[in-house]
Amino acid sequence: MEKTQNRYEAATVEELRNAKRLIVTVKGMEIGLFAVGEQFYAWRNICPHAAAPVCQGPVCGTRLPSLVYEYKYGKDQEIVRCPWHGWEFDLITGQHLVDEKVKLRGYKVEVEDGKVYVVI
């Protein structure tokens, strides 16, 4: 049986564009809304590692995989870094940068009439 999905109003487009990140509560769950470039993403505010409020960590770039003693900056503002243990997650895919099996729980985001909805 397919689970019924509903969408919930979570923020306005203007709010999210200005703040870049909002922590909202939807259906009793904390969700991090992120504006990355033109796109919006919604990730559950629980780190899969140790249940930290992952979405409240710094949003940043990172050092990309490189050759020994080379440093390459990239993914600017596309990374959220968990405030407890520093795990880096890709805000676009939700994936942990070390272990691809580890991923943030994500939700579909819909935009309509200036409002941001999360589909749960």
């Binding site: 050092r63 995989p65 050759l67 020994v68 440093y71 243990h85 880096e88 070390v98 272990d99």
Partner: protein, 370 residues
């Protein structure tokens, strides 16, 4: 073809008399060698000495200084097919304050090793001694000696002024990889010569205390090698951590992995978990094997480090803390014991075939002048 049954990866061959090195040493250094020796003093005194008193050759001299006697007293006695020679009283030449002296002594030792030991029996396999304080010279020495196929690895002391992963040392790894040889380290020089203190908090009081804590230096070097990306830069390199114990490694692997998951951006050249580099590139030797009261705990520790491919038997003959191959590995379950006793060393050193008894005896007789 007969497969070897036991390979001993840490056997100490000693220089019988100081003068024995002179034919291989430039004339300008003769007096210095005769008066100063290897010259990396300091260290801790053991009341029982480092060398086994039962291993003194019949003609006298240092234990481990007579190739013929060692064959009988150690190899034939325990059915050991090959021994990887690791030197004696000279390994710390990297810690002499004068790197030019370190270089010539290392070269003289290597030439002496070939003439005195490797030509004495095919049972003996050599380690190319290098002076790690001068990596460019060490690389040249590796190239010079690697043409002798009875040299099966590079060796240097684990006492040092810097951590071994640092770029200063990379010419050594580049040369070793180029020649298809593992790089081994051996402990015992920690806190001696120009090495740093043997612990970050200074100097232990007794030989016992110093000997207990040697593995912390191994932890520091292995950690450095992995974090600095040595195994990304030199993907074929193997690094042998001789006589440094085993049970500390699971802790280090797990701690490194845990930190890497949060701090990978500090070492963006690593592409895998640190523990995976360790299992692929670090090899350990058994002696002095840990002896927990419960044998099963040893097996568990060995499993944690994937000992079926990472750990090799060693006796440390003729040192005081010798491990008897017939006794020391008994707590280990059978199929794993076989891997440790011989298979891992066969694979690392390419010693697929046991030396034939005829060849061994003929060469031994020739050296004796019969």
């Amino acid at each position: 073809m007969t497969k070897p049954k036991i390979i001993d990866t840490d056997v100490h061959n000693a220089i019988a008399r100081t003068e024995d090195l002179l034919p291989f040493l430039p004339r300008v250094w003769h007096e210095y060698w005769k008066s100063a020796g290897a010259g990396y003093g300091g260290g801790w005194h053991s009341p029982i000495g480092v060398l086994r008193s039962d291993a003194i050759p019949p003609g006298g001299g240092l234990p481990g200084s007579d190739p013929k006697h060692m064959l009988e007293h150690h190899f034939h006695k325990y059915g050991i097919d090959y021994g990887i020679l690791t030197g004696s009283g000279i390994l710390g030449i990297s810690l002499n304050p004068n790197p030019d002296y370190g270089n010539v002594i290392a070269s003289a030792y290597n030439d002496w090793l070939v003439e005195t030991w490797l030509k004495a029996s095919s049972v003996y396999k050599g380690s190319i001694l290098i002076n790690h304080a001068d990596p460019q010279a060490a690389a040249k020495e590796i190239d010079r000696m690697a043409v002798n196929k009875n040299m099966v690895q590079v060796i240097m002391c684990s006492g040092s002024r810097m951590l071994f992963g640092q770029r200063f040392y990379h010419p050594i790894y580049e040369a070793a990889e180029r020649n298809g040889l593992p790089v081994a380290v051996h402990p015992g020089t920690e806190g001696r010569g120009i090495a740093g203190a043997p612990t970050p908090s200074g100097y232990p009081t007794s030989y016992l205390e110093w000997h207990n804590i040697l593995p912390t230096n191994y932890m520091a070097h292995v950690n450095s090698l992995v974090c600095e990306g040595v195994f990304e830069k030199f993907p074929l390199l193997k690094f042998v951590a001789i006589e440094g114990g085993i049970a500390w490694l699971p802790h280090l692997m797990w701690r490194m992995d845990k930190n890497y998951k949060g701090l990978r951006d500090l070492v963006p050249w690593l592409k895998r978990l640190p523990s995976e580099y360790i299992k692929d590139h670090i090899r350990l030797t058994t002696q002095p094997i840990e002896e927990p009261a419960n044998n099963e705990q040893l097996n568990q520790i060995l499993d944690m480090v994937d000992a079926g491919r990472t750990v090799m038997f060693s006796s440390d003959y003729p040192h005081w803390d010798f491990d008897n191959p017939k006794m020391a590995l008994q707590p280990i379950r059978k199929e794993l014991r076989q891997r440790i006793l011989v298979d891992n060393a066969i694979e690392l050193y390419g010693l697929n075939e046991a030396p034939s008894a005829a060849v061994t005896d003929a060469k031994a007789a020739a050296i004796k002048g019969e």
